[in-house]
């Protein structure tokens, strides 16, 4: 037991002495030295591993379903979210909507704005709100593709996964659709694409 304790004490002394040995030599009273703190980021966390940045890992909706009643009222889902599972903070860089074949984009507003449209004119007005921020909606400028968000705006920012209270944002969406003379089921009328990027300090 005594031998073991002695060995432990020797090891402790060695460690203490080694710290002194690695420190910058200071030979004057009040002198200073610097010790570089180095960092290597790799895929496996080892110094010899493949250099990589932090892995991005985000869960994003690719389907924004909706139904329309006989009177033109559109109902949408209420559980759409973007969830950041990454260690680092991310933000929504942009959101773009593209009309599907046979459909065209029009200005979003009250459904009564479509009262003068012909039945089966297949027009869609769409609006989205991310993280409780400002609503972005389609207008009449382009019937095929429109940028709903072209730069990060308030509500688009998510913390890293470590903060479970702020690492996701809700997505609220609404639409108006021109009347249909015949039934459609799960028809794709448009595609919305979310682009995510790191929320960098720069």
């Amino acid at each position: 037991m005594k031998k073991f304790l002695a060995l432990a004490l020797v090891l402790c002394m060695c460690v203490c002495m080694s710290v002194t040995a690695f420190a910058t030599e200071i030979d004057t009273s009040g002198g200073s030295g610097s010790t570089p703190v180095s960092l290597t980021s790799t895929s496996d966390g080892t110094t010899g591993g493949d250099p990589t940045g932090t892995a991005m890992n985000v869960t994003v909706p690719t389907a924004l379903p909706m139904t329309m009643s006989q009177t033109g009222d559109v109902t949408t889902a209420d559980n759409c979210r973007i969830i950041n599972n990454s260690y680092g903070a991310v933000r929504v860089k942009s959101v773009e909507i593209t009309a599907a074949d046979g459909w065209s984009l029009t200005a979003f507003g009250d459904k009564t704005t479509l009262a003068r449209e012909k039945v089966d004119s297949n027009k869609l007005g769409f609006a989205i709100r991310i993280g409780g921020g400002a609503q972005s909606a389609t207008d009449a400028s382009n019937s095929n593709t429109q940028a709903l968000i072209s730069d990060p705006v308030a509500g688009c920012y998510m913390t890293g996964a470590g903060d479970a209270t702020a690492n996701s944002v809700s997505i609220d969406y609404a639409a108006i659709v021109t009347p249909l003379s015949s039934a459609v089921t799960a028809a794709t009328v448009a595609n919305v694409v979310f682009i995510i990027e790191w929320d960098t300090a720069a």
């Binding site: 493949d50 890992n57 985000v58 909706p61 690719t62 379903p65 109902t75 889902a77 209420d78 979310f194």
Partner: protein
């Protein structure tokens, strides 16, 4: 005289009785007719079926208008579709390539929480050129390294990596999301 007068007297007295009986009979028939008419008109179901009414109601007609489903039920069914369409995108956002023709550390991972195989396309943001397109990556598998489809010159390229959910049976793209990445070519 008495005997001869009696029949005469008797015959004169019988006439009012006959009229009274006939009158009562007619009144009784009229009352019966009225009662029958009233009964028919009040019974309700008979009248519409008579051709004389001019309209034949459809036995399939039921009470009510357009059915309006419960909004909560509609939203719940839509929420299920959102869950089915969620995509997890995971990759190295700063892949490095020794040169334009060598492999780089893309580290594209189709996480096990996903439902569909993924196809990943990398598109330059400045030119719109597609510089890489993967095959379908099964759920739970990854592409650690791969070569670009284009021999890029030395430099840094801001790109968008587009992740597509793919129908495993038809190969049809079901939806997509993207991430901004920086591709670096060292030589």
């Amino acid at each position: 005289m008495k005997d001869t007068n009696k029949p005469i007297t008797h015959g004169k007295k019988q006439k009012p009785g006959k009229y009274r009986f006939a009158l009562i009979l007619i009144l009784a028939l009229v009352v019966i007719a009225v009662i029958v008419c009233l009964f028919k008109s009040c019974s309700g179901d008979k009248a519409p079926d008579t051709p004389s009414s001019g309209i034949a109601y459809d036995d399939n007609a039921v009470e009510g208008g357009w059915d309006e489903a419960d909004t909560d039920e509609i939203v719940a069914s839509l929420n299920e579709k959102v869950d089915e369409g969620m995509i997890n995108i995971s990759m190295n956002t700063s892949p490095i390539f020794a040169n334009g023709s060598s492999s780089g550390n893309l580290m594209i991972v189709n996480e096990t929480i996903n439902r569909y195989p993924q196809v990943v396309e990398i598109v330059r943001r400045d030119t719109g050129e597609t510089i890489y397109k993967s095959g379908a990556v099964p759920v739970g598998k990854k592409i650690e390294e791969a070569k670009l489809d284009v021999d890029l010159a030395k430099g840094e390229y801001e790109c968008t990596a587009m992740f597509y959910n793919v129908n495993p049976d038809t190969g049809e793209y079901l939806g997509c999301a993207g991430a901004v990445i920086t591709v670096t070519v060292l030589e």
